[in-house]
Symmetry: C2
Subunit: 395 residues, 2 copies
């Protein structure tokens, strides 16, 4: 398969300009094209690319002649039918100009097209199998997607000061120690988490539902520009594509897949964050939820995660770290109190000294036991002996 025969000079030139480091320019074009023609998470596209590679899959998909490619994997008639239906979805978008437009649009905003073939591809996304993105459009530091530890901190847009405070506390602490804060760039909890990371000079990644050239929400234009400058702004749809309800839902799977753990800070009963949490759980990623007042509707979704999704209750950054197995610096547990010692201390008075037999009666302990315990307490300076018996020592 020689791409030179099928991709236009214009496309090849745009692809080379965007990724001069990649030899296989056809792969760049084909993956950009897949991101144009298939909606996020299209499993038929994913399976086709897995089986044929991105270039051949694309050429075959866009060949308007009917029929499945002549590979043994595609002989199954159900597969053939599914692919035929998929083609019918893809063809209305199969416009070569749209691909060139996507490549040029990315270059215009200094975005990069990151490919699964790249060494820096975030392999965590491969857990999504055929629903993994066909490529990622990235503004900023793409290394943040694949290196070190990442935690996805998400939550309600309709957050409360309590939730924003918690999101900032957790994200600030975690980012300060180098954990990448992944979130969705939205108002509310997402914004608080990103901002806290930026404030401590820590790494943060915003995953958008629309193109990385679009600030969505518009009120976060400056925040997203800062994230692009100091962290990374990422999408699987090309520049110019609007965020839609469907794309928000699809985007959530990427947030869940990218994080070593997902933490929901505040969420209403039907919050989109529960969708992200559900993805994290089904990917086997650790899931944490920050509790809040039962009286706050903004915490109802978090409590639901604790009840229905087996989320772990997290209240501190250290508890978030425990989600991926960092062991806590254990607080030394106080040696469990000796019951007999407690009973003897209960029986002692700090004012009136009491004789041993009275202490035995009061504490319900044997005289010998009282004597032995008094000896120990005496050594500790916890009791005083007087002519009339024993009393508690003044502190």
């Amino acid at each position: 398969m020689n791409g030179a025969r099928v991709f236009s000079a214009e496309a090849r030139s745009a692809a080379r300009a965007l990724r001069p480091d990649v030899q296989a320019v056809d792969t760049v074009i084909a993956r950009a094209a897949w991101s144009v023609i298939a909606e996020p998470g299209d499993g038929t596209a994913g399976a086709l690319i897995r089986d044929l590679g991105p270039v051949e899959a694309l050429l075959w998909a866009l060949d308007r002649r009917a029929g499945a490619p002549n590979s043994p994997e595609r002989e199954n008639s159900t597969d053939a039918e599914r692919v035929a239906q998929a083609r019918a979805r893809w063809l209305p978008r199969a416009d070569p100009h749209a691909v060139v437009h996507a490549l040029e649009g990315a270059r215009h905003v200094h975005a990069r097209l990151v490919l699964p073939e790249d060494p820096g591809w975030p392999t965590m996304l491969d857990d999504l199998d055929v629903h993994a993105p066909t490529a990622l459009w990235v503004r900023g530091h793409q290394a943040l997607l694949a290196m070190g530890r990442r935690v996805s901190i998400v939550g309600a847009r309709a957050s409360t000061p309590y939730g924003e405070h918690l999101a900032a506390e957790l994200a600030g602490d975690l980012a300060h120690t180098g954990t990448v804060i992944v979130s969705g760039g939205a108002y509310g909890i997402d914004g608080a988490a990103h901002r806290a990371a930026l404030r401590v000079g820590g790494p943060t990644v915003a995953l958008l539902a629309g193109g990385v050239d679009r600030a969505y929400p518009a009120g976060h234009q400056r925040l997203l520009a800062e994230i692009a400058a100091c962290g990374a702004v990422v999408s699987e749809v090309p520049c110019g594509v609007a965020p839609t309800k469907w794309r928000f839902l699809a985007r959530n799977r990427l947030i869940a897949a990218l994080g070593d753990a997902t933490v929901v800070v505040e969420a209403g009963w039907r919050s989109g964050s529960l969708n992200t949490a559900g993805h994290a759980a089904s990917l086997g990623r650790p899931l944490g939820a920050v509790p809040g007042p039962v009286t706050s509707a903004a915490s109802a979704g978090c409590h639901r995660l604790l009840r229905e999704y087996d989320a772990r209750c997290v209240t501190t950054a250290q508890e978030v770290r425990e989600l991926w197995g960092e062991t806590p610096a254990r607080e030394p547990r106080s040696a469990s109190a000796d019951p007999e010692r407690t009973r003897l201390l209960d029986a002692l008075s700090s004012r009136s000294p009491l004789p041993v037999h009275e202490l035995a009666r009061r504490s319900g302990l044997a005289v010998e036991r009282v004597q032995a315990l008094l000896g120990m307490l005496d050594l500790e300076g916890a009791v005083q002996r007087t002519d009339d018996g024993w009393r508690r020592a003044a502190r």
Copy 2:
């Protein structure tokens, strides 16, 4: 064994006065005596009573001659040693006048001595095995201990308005539907739970660490009197006995054992409520914890229960009922949204009508699929057909 030979006429008379309905007056005296000489939860006493019955166990225990009783169960030398040590604990308290005093003191405050031999004995306490109470001193309606459903609602003395509000909400709702609210009569959460039950005319039981003749805390004198009048005030120690730290800890096991479930509403990091919760967990009783603001020290213990004790997060009375298996009136889940439908609705505009091929391109769906979905949406009145194409219908 004929009790007439060993128990004084004074004791027999006091026991008959307190429990005229019980034929076996020796049993009444012996159990009252055990409650005088053994501290709560004394497992050696429990085992001895289990093996020999309360009367014979007492007579043997107080026989100052050394040695274990000649029963095969007691031949084990470790047992013999343990019993010898226990005797040394019990003998300092073995004062016949104290037993008479306990019986008369109970009668004076209209308390009743409830025996494991009584048909109304709360058999839930038998789960405590040899640590079960030897008897219970009860003011009020002892039937509340054994009938129907009971929930233990406990928490911090140093509660917040949030916690008191929640305790009152949960206890009021549960008591209103006949669930007995069990708690410890303390300031804070305990008091809020008892009061809420009384307010709705519902049943409530206070388990005290000291005698039922003593209002502890003193500021709850009136509350405890109301509970005794409308519910029950219960202790395993006789009248006149002071609450001590040890007895509070021991009392907590009774609260845990009596409840079909235990719910902790607010608790500090080292709250005594965690002790009650630990007892509930080790008895296999369902354990619930009410979450609260992470920023509130009064909720730290609840979050600890969620993290470390596998407590279930509860936020409503219905969720408390689910702890003992009452099935919720399931909220009908909305049929999970059809992704293609979502994508088509995303693509539709409510202002400009769009032709089918444009809707196919925008939504990433096949033209045929768009046509089929539009047909359904049209039937639902969700879209309108115009000469120029389709648009979303105004709501």
